[in-house]
């Protein structure tokens, strides 16, 4: 299994307009078998409590050992400034980048219960917006600016009615554009 995953990732094309996303196993063990070795970047999804952060840190270490160009934490289910601060502090202590901050959003477990994609279940919800903003930044291969990879026509051509909230305002891009490894704090009080 691990060899198959590794080989598929290795073979995946890597043009500018192509993205390959590997949803890995929950246990970190697979990483030591090199499943992610041919990835360009690894996102370690963490929740704002110690055990989860510590697992993320261990995964990040394994990712770095594999020689991945970019290894970063993504703080998920963040409820307030206090939780965000805890994640930032942890990241700073362990010299880890935060690639994105996804707010806690009741629509996400809602989508799961409905066995639906969050994108279909609650298109405009704040977690989906935050994931989209992060995805665009990460896919463009930089921590900073948020270029739009395709003109709006292409998005329309997908023919799906659901409109997607536009990415975060440019301020966010400027904040990260200086090579700062820590993402600018988002206001979780909004919406």
């Amino acid at each position: 299994m691990h060899a198959t995953v590794r080989s598929v990732i290795e073979a995946a094309a890597n043009q500018d307009n192509e993205v390959c996303i590997l949803d890995t196993e929950a246990s970190p063990e697979h990483l030591s078998r090199g499943t992610a070795q041919y990835a360009d970047a690894m996102l370690c999804i963490v929740e704002p409590y110690y055990k989860s952060l510590e697992t993320g840190r261990r995964m990040a270490v394994l990712g770095r050992d594999l020689g991945l160009e970019r290894v970063a934490l993504v703080a998920n289910k963040v409820r307030d400034e206090r939780e965000l601060e805890a994640v930032r502090k942890f990241a700073e202590t362990h010299d880890l980048e935060i690639a994105g901050i996804i707010p806690f959003d009741e629509q996400m477990p809602g989508a799961e219960r409905a066995e639906a994609s969050p994108v279909d279940f609650a298109p405009g919800t704040k977690a989906v917006a935050a994931i989209g903003e992060m995805a665009r930044r990460v896919a463009a291969g930089n921590g900073g600016s948020i270029p739009s990879p395709a003109p709006p026509e292409t998005a329309d051509a997908a023919g799906n009615g659901g409109s997607i909230p536009s990415p975060a305002p440019p301020e966010t891009a400027d904040a990260a554009g200086n090579g700062d490894s820590i993402a600018k704090p988002l206001s979780l009080e909004e919406t």
Binding site: S7, V19, I21, T24, L43, N76, I102, P118
Partner: protein
């Protein structure tokens, strides 16, 4: 860009993976999503209807062949996608890895 998404069970990594895949596909990226988890539910998060879950083709080990550098895919990834992938909404291509559990009694 090849991304590996890791995290503890329940951290939301599958929801994030699936959401990223769908939104990037809408942006015009050609997206290949790979479910490497032993409890495959990336398909649902991508918006594949539950009733299609039984149609999910899985990638088995016989797609690998030995080479001097270790195991390699026996066919091109394009060929494998033609026969073993499922097309999810927004044109996302989904590949699901076979797990030993599938062969068990479960």
């Amino acid at each position: 860009m090849k991304l590996a998404v890791a995290g503890k069970g329940g951290s939301g990594k599958t929801s994030i993976s699936g959401t990223m895949a769908r939104l990037l596909a809408r942006d015009g990226y050609k997206v290949l999503a790979i479910d490497g988890d032993s409890n495959p539910n990336l398909a649902l998060t991508l918006g594949v209807p539950p009733e299609r879950m039984n149609d999910l083709p899985v990638l088995t080990r016989d797609l690998l062949e030995r080479s001097d550098d270790g195991p390699k895919l026996a066919k091109s990834l394009e060929e494998i996608c033609e026969t073993h992938s499922l097309r999810a909404p927004d044109g996302v291509t989904l590949l699901v890895m076979a797990h030993p559990q599938h062969a068990g009694t479960g």
